[in-house]
C-alpha cells in the first residue's frame, strides 16, 4: 500500500450523516472497501474516519440512459473520473488539531466536519498508530485494521470496567474472538475471568473452523487457570483433568432459579408462582428435592390442594422439573460447596473455566448453573465491595463473567429478573462485569445492549440483529453497511468504550505455534511439552 495516497476531496457532509468524498480520476472504487480508514486534512485540524459506503456517480444523470461509447479507450479515459466518478461516504470519528495543545491531548471525538474540498488521503500506518496507540511488549492487541500492519491495541483494563459483548452469526468466529479477549485479560492481568464454557472451547482446548485443535487457556496459562467440570467423566474422556468436580445440592436452588427456566422448560405463568409457594410449604432449602421425590398422582393432587393451586399446574411443573433429576451434578447433598471453591480460586487470582461437558447442549442445565453460581458470586462481590467502601479497604479484583447464548439470560422478559440483567445494568459498581457472547443480539434486552461498553461484532446479516448490535452508537446507519459486509472469517468490527474509534479488524492469528509465541508463551510452550509427555504417559494405550 502506498502511504498517504490522495483519494479525493470532500464535497458535502454533515456531522450526523457523515461526509461525501469525491474520488480522484485515478482512484478506482474497486480499490476501496468499507471499513478502510482515511484522513481528511481540514484547514485547522485533521480528521480520522472510516469508509462506510462506496457509490458510483455521474455529473450528468442522463449518462445512465445514454451511456457514452466506452469501447473507445480515448472516450473511456476522458470520462473516467470526470463525467463519471466514484464517491465514498466517510464517517468521521476523531479529530486532532494542529496546535501544540491538541497534539498533546491526542485525538478527540469529532464535533464538526472538515470544510469543503478538504483533501482526503488513505490513512497511513503512522496515523493509525497515533489513534490506537502503539503496542508495547506485554500489551495485548486484537488484530490489525484491514490491509494494514499496525496492531490495534485493546486496552483490557478499560474493557473490563464495563460489560461487553461479542456478537456474530454462527461460524464467524465469536468463540475465537472471545478466547482472544479472555487471553488478553489474562495476559494483562486486568481482571479475573469466570467462564461458563458451554461448548468446552475455552478451558483445555478448542477446535478451529478447519477442525484443528487449538490450545485453551489452561494449556497456555497453566496454574493461573482452573478448570471446574460439571461432567467430570466427559472431561476425562476429552483428556482434560479438571481441578474441581462441581456438584450442586438441591438445597442451593431457589425458586428464582426456576423462574429463569420458564422458556427453556416451557413453564406457564401460573407454574412460575408455584415454586415460591413450595418453598414456603416445605419450610426450607430442600423444597425442590422434596417436591421432586413426591410420586403418584394422588400425592400431587393432595399437595396442590394444600398449596391452593390448580392440580394440573402442579402436575405439569412436577413433570417438567423432573428433567433436573437427570442431571447427575445435582445431588441432594453436595460434597463441598462449588461456589466457595470458585470464590476461593477467584480470590487467589486464578481464572476459573466451568466446563459443562455433555450438559453444554442442555440449555436448562447451562442456565440453571450459570445463574445459580453467578448470583452467589455476585452477592459475595457486592458485600465485599460495600465493605471495602465502608471500611476503606481494597476492593476485590474486577471479575469478568463470560456467558454464551446470552439471549437466554438477557432476553427482554428475563433481563429484569436474572442476576445477569442486574450485572449488565449496574455496570462496574461492584467490580463484576459480563462478557456476553451471542449470535442473536436482537434477542437481548435493549436496555442491556445499550449498557454494553464495548461491542465486538463479527458478520451479522439479520437486519434486527444488526440494529440491535449498534444500539446507542452514533453513526449507526453508516456502520450498518460495514457490519453487514464483513468477511465471514477473521474479521470483526469493534466499537465502544475500549477503542478510540470504531475499527474493522482482521483478527490476529491464533492456533499456530507462531501465534502462541507472539502471545508471549514461550515459557508455556516449554511447559506444554512436559505436560504433553505427562499426558502421553498417563493415557498410554
Amino acid at each position: 500500500m502506498t502511504e498517504d495516497r490522495k483519494l479525493g476531496f470532500v464535497i458535502s457532509g454533515a456531522l450526523t450523516k457523515g461526509i461525501d468524498v469525491r474520488l480522484d480520476g485515478d482512484i478506482s472504487v474497486e480499490d476501496l472497501a468499507v471499513g478502510r480508514y482515511v484522513t481528511i486534512e481540514g484547514h485547522k485540524r485533521r480528521f480520522f474516519g472510516m469508509v462506510t459506503d462506496v457509490t458510483l456517480d455521474a455529473s450528468d444523470q442522463r449518462i445512465m440512459s445514454a451511456p457514452p461509447d466506452v469501447s473507445d479507450p480515448f472516450i473511456a479515459e476522458v470520462i473516467n473520473g470526470t463525467s463519471t466518478f466514484g464517491r465514498v461516504h466517510v464517517l468521521p470519528t476523531l479529530t486532532i488539531g494542529d496546535d501544540a495543545v491538541s497534539l498533546v491531548e491526542g485525538p478527540q471525538p469529532v464535533k464538526t466536519v472538515p470544510s469543503h474540498f478538504s483533501v482526503v488521503r488513505e490513512a497511513s500506518e503512522k496515523d493509525i498508530g497515533s489513534v490506537f496507540g502503539s503496542v508495547t511488549e506485554g500489551q495485548f492487541y486484537i488484530g490489525t485494521p484491514l490491509d494494514m500492519e499496525t496492531k490495534v491495541r485493546l486496552d483490557t483494563a478499560k474493557l473490563v470496567t464495563r460489560s461487553n459483548g461479542i456478537f456474530g452469526k454462527s461460524g464467524t468466529g465469536k468463540t475465537f474472538l472471545a478466547r482472544l479477549v479472555l487471553i488478553g485479560i489474562l495476559q494483562e492481568g486486568s481482571a479475573i475471568n469466570l467462564i461458563f464454557d458451554m461448548h468446552n472451547e475455552y478451558g483445555w482446548k478448542g477446535t478451529s473452523e478447519d477442525n484443528r485443535e487449538i490450545k485453551g487457556l489452561k494449556q497456555l496459562f497453566g496454574s493461573k487457570v482452573a478448570i471446574f467440570a460439571l461432567d467430570a467423566e466427559n472431561a476425562r474422556k476429552r483428556k482434560v483433568s479438571p481441578d474441581y468436580e462441581v456438584e450442586i445440592g438441591y438445597d442451593e436452588i431457589e425458586p428464582d432459579d426456576i423462574a429463569l427456566l420458564r422458556e427453556t422448560l416451557g413453564l406457564t405463568d401460573a407454574a412460575i408462582g408455584v415454586p415460591y409457594r413450595l418453598a414456603r410449604y416445605f419450610k426450607g432449602r430442600r423444597w425442590l428435592e422434596e417436591f421432586l421425590t413426591i410420586e403418584g398422582k394422588d400425592a400431587l393432587s393432595e399437595l396442590a390442594e394444600s398449596l391452593g393451586e390448580h392440580e394440573a399446574t402442579v402436575a405439569a411443573l412436577h413433570r417438567r422439573l423432573s428433567i433436573l433429576r437427570r442431571m447427575p451434578f445435582l445431588v441432594s447433598e453436595a460434597k463441598g460447596s462449588a461456589i466457595d471453591s470458585i470464590l476461593g480460586y477467584l480470590e487467589r487470582g486464578i481464572h476459573v473455566v466451568l466446563d459443562f461437558g455433555r450438559y453444554g447442549d442442555n440449555t436448562a442445565a447451562y442456565i440453571l448453573v450459570a445463574n445459580l453460581l453467578t448470583r452467589r458470586i455476585h452477592a459475595m462481590y457486592r458485600e465485599r465491595t460495600e465493605r471495602a467502601l465502608a471500611e476503606g479497604g481494597a476492593k476485590p479484583k474486577p471479575l469478568v463473567i463470560t456467558i454464551e447464548e446470552a439471549h437466554k439470560f438477557l432476553s427482554h422478559e428475563l433481563a429484569g429478573q436474572t442476576i445477569f440483567g442486574t450485572i449488565a445494568r449496574e455496570m462496574r459498581k461492584y467490580n463484576v462485569t459480563l462478557l456476553v457472547v451471542d449470535q442473536r443480539p436482537s434477542g437481548i434486552d435493549e436496555e442491556v445492549m445499550s449498557q454494553l461498553g464495548t461491542k465486538i461484532t463479527c458478520l451479522l446479516d439479520n437486519e434486527r440483529d444488526i440494529e440491535s448490535a449498534l444500539t446507542g452508537m452514533s453513526g449507526k446507519g453508516e456502520l450498518k453497511a460495514v457490519l453487514s459486509k464483513l468477511d465471514s472469517r477473521q474479521q470483526a468490527l469493534i466499537f465502544g468504550h475500549a477503542v478510540p474509534m470504531p475499527v474493522v479488524i482482521k483478527t490476529r492469528d491464533y492456533g499456530t505455534a507462531q501465534s502462541y509465541k507472539e502471545l508471549g508463551f514461550r515459557e508455556a510452550l516449554g511447559r506444554k511439552k512436559d505436560s504433553d509427555k505427562d499426558l502421553k504417559d498417563l493415557f498410554a494405550e
Binding site: G25, S59, A66, P68, I75, I79, T82
Partner: protein
C-alpha cells in the same frame, strides 16, 4: 518561421475579422493565430472563413459554362483575384505579454490593419499549458462543438504525445460541460476522428 496570414479589417474585444493575403488561403478552422496591439500579443482561434466579392451585394457570376477547365477560369480571368477576397474570423481567447499567457480577454481589441500570423508549434504548446480558454469556446452560439473539436485537433499536432494532450483537454472539457455528457460525447467523437 512566422507566417503572415492576413490583416485585421474588423475588430472588437471578443473577435476580429482579417482579410487573407492570398485568395482562398485562410488558416485552418480551429487553428491558433496571433496579432498584436501595442505590446500585447492577442491570441485567437479561427472560427470561420469566407470568400466573397469585394463589393457587397455584387455576387460573382459562374464562368465555367461550356467546355471550360476549372483551373483555366482563374488563368484566363486574372482580375478575379482582385475582385474577390477571402476573410476569416477569429475568436479572441487570450493574450500574452513577454512570454506570459493570460487566458482571458485582452484590455483592448486588435487594431485595424494589424497583421495576423500563424503560431509555431512551440507557441501552441505553451499557450495550451492551460486550457481555461476552452470555456470561451463552449459558449459560442454557432458550431461550438465543431470549433472545440477542431481547436483541440489543431493543438494536438504541436505535441509529441498528442493522445496525452487530448485526454487532458477532454477531462478539462468534461468538467466545463459537466451537466451535458451528451455534448461531451459528440465533441470527443469529433476530436478523435
Amino acid at each position: 518561421m512566422l507566417l503572415k496570414l492576413g490583416e485585421v479589417v474588423e475588430s472588437s474585444t471578443e473577435k476580429f475579422v482579417a482579410e487573407c493575403d492570398k485568395l482562398h488561403c485562410p488558416p485552418s478552422f480551429g487553428s491558433l493565430v496571433r496579432t498584436r496591439e501595442g505590446n500585447i500579443d492577442i491570441y485567437a482561434v479561427v472560427s470561420g472563413a469566407s470568400t466573397a466579392s469585394i463589393e457587397a451585394g455584387r455576387r460573382p457570376i459562374a464562368r465555367g459554362r461550356g467546355d471550360v477547365n476549372e483551373e483555366d477560369i482563374y488563368l484566363s480571368n486574372p482580375q478575379l483575384e482582385k475582385l474577390m477576397r477571402t476573410e476569416f474570423t477569429a475568436l479572441v481567447v487570450g493574450h500574452g505579454d513577454s512570454g506570459k499567457f493570460s487566458q482571458y480577454m485582452p484590455p483592448r481589441p486588435a487594431r485595424i490593419h494589424s497583421f495576423v500570423y500563424s503560431c509555431e508549434p512551440d507557441e501552441i504548446a505553451m499557450f495550451n499549458q492551460s486550457l481555461a480558454y476552452l470555456s470561451m469556446l463552449v459558449d459560442v452560439p454557432e458550431r461550438s462543438n465543431e470549433l472545440i473539436a477542431a481547436t483541440l485537433r489543431n493543438a494536438a499536432v504541436a505535441y509529441s504525445e498528442p493522445r496525452e494532450f487530448l485526454v487532458r483537454a477532454g477531462k478539462e472539457l468534461a468538467l466545463m460541460i459537466a451537466g451535458d455528457t451528451n455534448r461531451l460525447h459528440i465533441i470527443l467523437k469529433k476530436v478523435k476522428a
